[in-house]
Amino acid sequence: MQINDLLENTGEWLKGQGEDADIVISSRARLARNLVQFPFISRATQAQRRRLEELLRDTITTACADANLSYFPLAEASALDSRVLMERHLISRELAEGKGPRGVAISPDETISVMVNEEDHLRMQAIHSGLDLKNTWEEISGIDNALEAHLNYAFSPKLGYLTACPTNVGTGLRVSVMLHLPGMVITKQIEKAFEAVTKMNLAVRGLYGEGTQAHGDFYQISNQITLGRSEEELLESVGAVVPALVTYERMARQTLLKENRPTVEDRVFRSLGVLQNARIISSQEVLLHLSSLRMGINLGLISEIKPEVVNELFILAQPAHLQKLEGRELGEHGRDIARAGFMRRQLGMN
């Protein structure tokens, strides 16, 4: 499989299926693991990183044969290809922008990805559409078990799985749920809700994780703590706040409709108008309007556009995807023109 082949399809997690999929975009579980016989990546030599990559690539492809993973070495990949993987949430920004021997193994439906030589030797994730933490965790735990049969993990009975950063030590597990919360943003309830979430030892982040702004009203809720709790307790701590946020978001949307239907409709249809007619549009502006459009579809104000089409557009509107779709490298202004044209075609205009 080549990176370009990924562009033929959409990741399973964007299909918009599963529980509360109108608000819960995806559920993700990520494990950090290191091998006992090598130093962590920041202290590893080039030769050690090369040996790590070879060993891990072979183990991943043989031990997880059922998952049918394809390995992409990133040392020789173009910056554009790496960025495509990042925009699809298959690799982190750190791996995309990193240097030296490193790579990622990906399943055909993009539900599983295993990063090699990121901050830790192994960072493996499972991601699914909608609220589905238990299955997501079990899937990645299965991959972990398959790998562990062939590898000697750095593990201490007292501290658990040892990681390069002490904020991941213990379970090495980060569970996260991505939510689309435009109603709470418009009604200005979002800050208050996140204050409460933060008090429960959970972190709130933007669309592309650590250090990113919340674009397009997308927010990721994840566990802050990785040590001293079992994996099930961590799943529970994240899973427990989601139903409340889903309820608040539904209430916010209904209140908006009931109290000020014309304002909501105006916002949604103006966004549709911009997306169908703009000639130049930045990725920031596109996210803003796609977010209103997505809410409009979920509220039943627009029926001719399918929700999964909009989910996909959030990813396809990103810079690297756009350049791949156009088949050439573009500067910022060129991308903004191409993006506007792409949106018009996708949303039935010329």
Binding site: F40, S141, L159, G228
Partner: protein, 170 residues
């Protein structure tokens, strides 16, 4: 100087923007208008290194600080000050080498310094059982604190059953 947007409050945020053709544009805004425009600097995220230094300077560990500075890991060669500045460890052995500084850090940030989750099967069943014992004892303490005596009794029975099998806390 007044804020260029609201024209009322004092401008405290001063920006120089590079516009096209190398031309400069200056902006002088008050805190509120700057945040509204999304240009104000947000409070920096606290890093691992920040928390570590805070713990070290505030606790009784301060005295040992100069001693720590000399410590480095025989396996990966990382020194304590390397760790302090990057917040990243060099190898698994560092958790032993820097134990005195890491334990209070983990207790503060993670709320615990004891793993109770998954264990690699090759590490052995006794670790799994030990972890379960630790977890059950935590549960027992919580149940007693909340006066849930029925639950406490059930947890106590499970602890005793495990202990009878010879899995003592390590």
């Amino acid at each position: 100087m007044r804020c260029q947007i609201c024209k009322k409050k004092v401008a405290t945020v001063h920006l120089t923007d590079l516009v096209a053709d190398g031309e400069k544009r200056e902006l002088h805004l008050c805190e509120e208008c700057a945040q509204e425009k999304g240009v104000a600097l947000k409070a920096q995220e606290t890093t691992v290194a920040d928390i570590l230094s805070a713990i070290l300077s505030s606790s009784q560990l301060a005295k040992q600080r100069s001693e720590f500075a000399k410590v480095s890991c025989p396996a990966c060669g990382i020194s304590y000050s390397d760790f302090l500045s990057s917040g990243r460890l060099g190898c698994g052995n560092d958790y032993n080498v820097f134990d005195k500084a890491l334990t209070p850090f983990l207790e503060k940030v993670q709320g615990s310094s004891r793993h109770t989750g998954k264990v690699p099967s090759r590490v052995g069943e006794d670790v799994v059982k030990t972890n379960e014992l630790v977890r059950l004892r935590q549960e027992l303490r919580q149940a007693v604190e909340k006066e849930q005596y029925e639950r406490a009794a059930q947890v106590r029975d499970r602890i005793q059953a495990l202990e009878r099998k010879g899995y003592a806390d390590k």
